[in-house]
Amino acid sequence: MANKRNTFLLIWILTAIGCLFVFLKYASPKIFQVLMAKDHPMPTPSTLMMWYMIMGVLAGLVYATTSNQKFADFLSFLLPGSGHVIQSFLRNMLFVAFPVLVGWFVYTWSIPGAASPVELRIQHPTLPQDFEKLENPFRQKDDQAQRKSIEEGKILFQTYCRPCHGSKADGNGPFANSFRLRPINFQDPGTIATVVDNYLFWRIKEGGPGLPSEATPWDSAMPSWKDDLKDDEIWMIIMGEYDTAGVMPRQREKQE
C-alpha cells in the first residue's frame, strides 16, 4: 500500500487546481492593477480563464498518471476502507462537493442572462492587393528630407490623430474614453511596429468603413481620411506617427 503522504495525492492536485483558479480569478487582476498603475483591476478574460484551467486540470492528471504507483495512489483516495480519519472526512467532503460543483456549473451556464457575444478578433485584417506594392516616398529620401517630413508629419498627426490616439501616440487622446474599444496604443510593440508603412496608409486612407468583409468582426471606429488628406500628407503622418510612438515600421527584407 502507498505511504501516508501519497494517499493524499488527489487532494494535493485538487488544491493546486484550486490555487490556480484563485490566482487567475482574484490575485492576477490585483497584481496587474498594481504593476500597471491602473485605477481598476484587470480581470482575466473568460476565454483565457477556461484555457488555463483546462491546462491546470490536464497537468494534474498527467502528473497523477506518470507511474502506476501514482495512479493507484490517486485513485485509492476514493476507495472506502482506508482508516485515516482525515482521509475519510476529506473523501466525504469530496463526494458532497463534486455534485454540488457540477450543479453549480450547470446552473450558471443555463440561467437566462444578457451578455454581448464573445468575438474572435483578427489582429491585422487582410491588406488589399493594390496597397501591397506601394512605397512610402519619404523613406527613400536623404536624412534631411526625411527629418523634414517627420516634423511635418508630427504636426499633421497632432492636428488630425491626437484627439483619439493622444499626443504621445499612446492611445490616450481626449476622446479616447468615449470609445467602447479604445484607440490603439502605437507605442505597444505588437501594433504598428509589426506592419509595413503601406498597411498604415491603407488604414488611414480607408478607415473602418474600408475594411474588407473577411476582416469582420474587426470593429473599428477609425474614420476614412481619403476625402480630407492628400496621399503625401498621409505618408508624412505615418513618418511622424512612428517617430512620436518611438517605434519602427516592419521593413521589407532583402531577398537572399
Binding site: 506518470t66 487582410t126 505588437g190
Partner: protein, 719 residues
C-alpha cells in the same frame, strides 16, 4: 474459409465507415452547392467594386459567368446548328467541376491525402536505413528485423501514394486546365525529371525490400543493400524537392514576366524564395511524421499482442518510433520559423495574413497541437521510466518538468488578440490584456518554445540515465571520449563564433545595427559556456558542466531574449531575424554539447538494472496513438495554411483564381474538411497496413529468438 469470414467482417465494418464518411461529406457538399450559387455573383461584384488594375496572366481568361458549370462556353441552344457548332471557335476552359462537387474541395482532399502518404513513404526510408546500419554495425539482429518491418509497410503504402498522385494529377489537369497550362509552361522539363526519379524510387524501393534476405551473409552484400536504401532516399528526396518547387512557386513566383507569364528562367522559378525553407521543413517533418505513424502501428500491435515476446517487441518498436519522432520534432520549430520568416521576406502582406490576419487563429490551433505533441512525447518518456530499474532516482524531476512544460504551453497558445465580450473589453479598458500583451507576441513564443525543447531534452537525459549507475571517471574513458567531446566542442564553437563574426558584417543602418551587438555578446558568452562545460568534463565534473550549460542557455535564449525580443520589435524589427538565428544557435549548441557529454560520461557506467521491454501501461500505447493522430491533424492544418495564404490567387500576384471557390474558408469549414482528411488517411493507412500483414499473419504469430531483457549498451545503440 477464414478469408471469406474476414471479407464478410470487413463488409459489415465498411458499411459503418462509409456512413461515417458520408456524414462528413454530405454537409460539405451541400454547403458547397449553397456557396457555389452565391459565389460567382459575389466575385463579379467584388471585381467591379475594386476597380484595381492588377498584374494578370494573359492566358485567355474568360469570366466565370460566360461558362456553363462544366466549363463549356454558353450557347443559345435553340439556334445552334450542327454547322455552327463545327465553326464555333474553341474557347479555352478555365475551370470544371468534379461531378457537381466543388473542384477546390476535391483537389484539397486528394492532394492532402497524397501528401500524407508521401510524407510516410519519404520519411520512413530515412530511418529504416539508419536503423539497418545501426543493426549491422552493432550486430543486433532485432534492428535489422525492425528496419525490414518498416520497409514492408513502405512497399504497401507506396502504391497508394502513387495512385493518389495519379488521381491528383488528373484532377488538376481536368479541373484547373488553365492554371495547369501555366504550370506546364513553366515547369514542363522538371515534370519529365520527376517521372524518371519516380522510376528510380520504385525500382530502389522494391529492390531494397525484396533483396533484404538475399543480400545478407557478407559485409559486402549488406553494404550493397544499405546503398540501395541510400539511393531510395536520394530518389525520394529528389522527388519531394521537385514537387516543392511547384508548390512554392505558387506562393513566391520567380523567373517569369508576371504580366505575360513568359518564362525567363526556369532555374529561378524552381529556386524561388520559399523553395529551400519548405524543402528543409518538409524533410524534417516527414521523418517526424513517419516516426509517429510507426509508433502508432507498434501501439496497435502491442495492444493486440498475445505473448510477452510480442509485447516486448512492439514496445521496443514503439519506443524507437517515438524516439525518431521526438528527434525530428525538436528541430522542427526552428525550420518552421525559418519558413515563416521567408514568407515575410517574400511578401510582408502574406506574412501579416499568416500571423496576424485571416490565418492567425489557425496558428492558435497549431500551437495547441504542437503543445500536445510535446506533452505527449514527454509523458511517454516518463511512463517509459517505469520499465527501467533505477529510474526512481530521477522521477522527482517530473513534477518540475510538468510545471515548466505546461507553463510554456500556456504562454505558447495565448493569442495576441483575445476573444472578448463587450463587457470584458470595457472592464479591461484597453486594447490588450497584460497576458496577451506579453505572451501573445513572437518574442514570448520563441522564448517558451525553446524552453519546451530544453525541457524535453532534459526528460530524455533523465530517461537515458535511469539505467546507469556508478560512472567511470572521464579521464579513464580513453581516446574516444576525448575525441568525441573535442569534436563536439569544435563544432559548437564554429557554429557560434562564425555566426557572431558574420553579424559584424551585416548591412544595416547604424542606428539599427547597435541592436545586433547584444546578440554577438550572447554568442560569445555561450561559446565560453560550451568551453567551460567541456573543460569541466575533462576534469571529471561533467554533470556540473552540463548544469552550467543548461543554466546559461536558459538564461540567454529564454529569459534575456524574451525581454530583448520586445526591445527589438519596437526599435529595430530587421534585427529579429538575427535574434532568432542566434537563439537557435545557442539552444542547438546546448543540446549537442550536453548530449555528447552525456554519452561519453555514462559510457561504461555500471548498470542499475535492465530495461524490461513490454512492461508499459496501456495508456502509454494510447499516447502513441494520440501522437499519431495529432501529427496527422497538424499536417492537414499546416497544408491548409500554406496553400490558403495565397488567398484568391492560384499563383500569388500572377494568376488570379476567378473560380467560385476562391474565397478563404471559415475555420469551421476548414475544421470539417481537415477532419475528413484525417479520418480518410487513418482509415486508408490502417487498411494498407492490414493488407501488408495479411500474408504473414500465421508466420508472425510468435516471433522467436529475441531477448528483450536488454542491457544498457543495447539501449545505447539505439541512439
Amino acid at each position: 474459409m477464414n478469408n471469406v469470414k474476414i471479407l464478410l467482417m470487413v463488409t459489415k465494418k465498411s458499411a459503418f465507415v462509409w456512413l461515417f464518411i458520408l456524414s462528413f461529406v454530405l454537409p460539405l457538399t451541400l454547403s458547397q452547392k449553397i456557396f457555389a450559387s452565391e459565389a460567382p455573383a459575389q466575385v463579379a461584384q467584388e471585381a467591379a467594386v475594386s476597380g484595381v488594375e492588377l498584374p494578370q496572366f494573359e492566358g485567355g481568361q474568360v469570366s466565370g459567368s460566360s461558362q456553363s458549370s462544366e466549363g463549356q462556353p454558353a450557347t443559345d441552344v435553340g439556334t445552334t446548328t450542327a454547322v455552327a457548332a463545327e465553326e464555333e471557335e474553341i474557347v479555352p476552359v478555365q475551370y470544371r467541376t468534379f461531378f457537381g462537387i466543388d473542384s477546390r474541395l476535391v483537389v484539397w482532399i486528394v492532394s492532402e491525402l497524397h501528401l500524407m502518404f508521401a510524407a510516410f513513404v519519404l520519411g520512413v526510408p530515412i530511418f529504416a536505413v539508419i536503423v539497418e546500419i545501426v543493426g549491422f554495425k552493432g550486430g543486433d539482429i532485432k534492428y535489422d528485423k525492425m528496419a525490414k518491418e518498416f520497409t514492408k509497410l513502405l512497399s504497401a503504402a507506396f502504391a497508394t501514394t502513387a495512385s493518389l498522385g495519379g488521381l491528383l494529377a488528373f484532377c488538376l489537369f481536368g479541373l484547373y486546365p488553365e492554371f495547369m497550362g501555366h504550370m506546364t509552361n513553366v515547369f514542363a522539363p522538371t515534370m519529365y525529371v520527376y517521372a524518371l526519379l519516380f522510376f528510380g524510387e520504385a525500382f530502389t524501393l522494391y529492390g531494397y525490400y525484396y533483396s533484404w534476405d538475399i543480400l545478407k551473409g557478407t559485409a559486402a552484400k549488406k553494404w550493397f543493400h544499405i546503398s540501395l536504401g541510400v539511393m531510395l532516399n536520394l530518389f525520394g528526396t529528389g522527388l519531394m524537392f521537385i514537387t516543392n518547387s511547384w508548390a512554392t512557386y505558387m506562393m513566391s513566383p520567380a523567373g517569369i514576366v508576371p504580366a505575360t507569364g513568359k518564362v525567363l528562367s526556369m532555374y529561378q522559378a524552381v529556386y524561388n524564395l520559399l523553395w529551400m525553407p519548405v524543402n528543409i521543413h518538409r524533410l524534417i517533418a516527414n521523418v517526424c511524421f513517419g516516426g509517429f505513424v510507426v509508433g502508432a502501428y507498434a501501439a496497435v500491435k502491442f495492444l493486440g499482442a498475445k505473448t510477452e515476446e510480442e509485447r516486448a517487441h512492439y514496445d521496443w518498436m514503439g519506443y524507437v518510433g517515438n524516439f525518431i519522432g521526438v528527434g525530428a520534432l525538436i528541430p522542427l520549430p526552428f525550420a518552421g520559423y525559418w519558413l515563416g520568416r521567408e514568407v515575410y521576406s517574400a511578401s510582408p502582406v502574406m506574412g501579416n495574413i499568416m500571423m496576424g490576419g485571416a490565418f492567425s487563429w489557425t496558428f492558435i490551433i497549431q500551437a495547441i497541437l504542437i503543445g500536445m505533441l510535446f506533452i505527449g512525447v514527454n509523458y511517454y518518456l516518463w511512463l517509459g521510466m517505469g520499465r527501467i530499474k533505477g529510474s526512481e532516482r530521477y522521477t522527482r524531476f517530473i513534477k518540475y518538468l510538468i510545471f515548466v512544460i505546461f507553463l510554456c504551453f500556456a504562454v505558447w497558445l495565448t493569442p495576441h488578440n483575445l476573444p472578448l465580450s463587450g463587457e470584458e473589453r470595457a472592464m479591461i479598458g484597453e486594447q490588450y490584456h497584460p497576458f496577451s500583451k506579453y505572451f501573445g507576441v513572437m518574442a514570448a513564443k520563441n522564448a517558451v518554445v525553446n524552453l519546451i525543447i530544453l525541457a524535453t531534452f532534459f526528460s530524455f537525459l533523465i530517461y537515458r540515465r535511469s539505467n546507469k549507475g556508478e560512472m567511470v571517471p572521464f579521464s579513464e574513458q580513453g581516446k574516444a571520449g576525448k575525441i568525441g567531446i573535442f569534436s563536439a566542442l569544435i563544432f559548437c564553437l564554429l557554429m557560434l563564433v562564425s555566426y557572431a563574426v558574420s553579424l559584424n558584417f551585416v548591412e544595416l543602418d547604424a542606428n539599427i545595427k547597435v541592436f545586433v551587438n547584444p546578440l554577438i555578446r550572447a554568442l560569445y558568452i555561450q561559446a565560453f559556456a560550451v568551453c567551460l562545460a567541456a573543460f569541466l568534463t575533462f576534469k571529471n565534473k561533467g554533470k556540473l558542466g552540463q548544469t552550467l550549460l543548461f543554466a546559461v542557455t536558459a538564461g540567454i535564449a529564454v529569459l534575456y531574449f524574451w525581454y530583448y525580443g520586445f526591445q527589438v520589435m519596437q526599435k529595430a524589427n530587421l534585427v529579429l531575424r538575427y535574434l532568432s538565428v542566434t537563439q537557435v544557435a545557442i539552444v542547438m549548441s546546448c543540446l549537442i554539447m550536453n548530449a555528447i557529454i552525456d554519452v561519453f560520461m555514462f559510457r561504461k557506467a555500471k548498470l542499475v538494472g535492465g530495461i524490461v521491454w513490454g512492461k508499459m501501461p496501456v495508456r502509454s500505447q494510447y499516447t502513441l496513438l494520440l501522437l499519431c493522430i495529432v501529427i496527422v491533424i497538424l499536417m492537414g492544418l499546416m497544408g491548409f495554411i500554406r496553400s490558403g495564404l495565397r488567398m484568391d490567387w492560384h499563383i500569388y500576384g500572377v494568376l488570379q483564381d476567378t473560380s467560385p471557390w476562391a474565397y478563404t474558408p471559415t475555420l469551421s469549414y476548414m475544421g470539417r474538411v481537415v477532419g475528413l482528411i484525417v479520418v480518410l488517411f487513418l482509415g486508408l493507412v490502417t487498411f494498407v497496413f492490414w493488407l501488408a500483414n495479411l500474408g504473414e499473419k500465421k508466420e508472425e504469430a510468435k516471433p522467436k529468438g529475441y531477448n528483450y531483457e536488454v542491457s544498457g549498451d543495447d539501449y545505447g545503440n539505439a541512439h
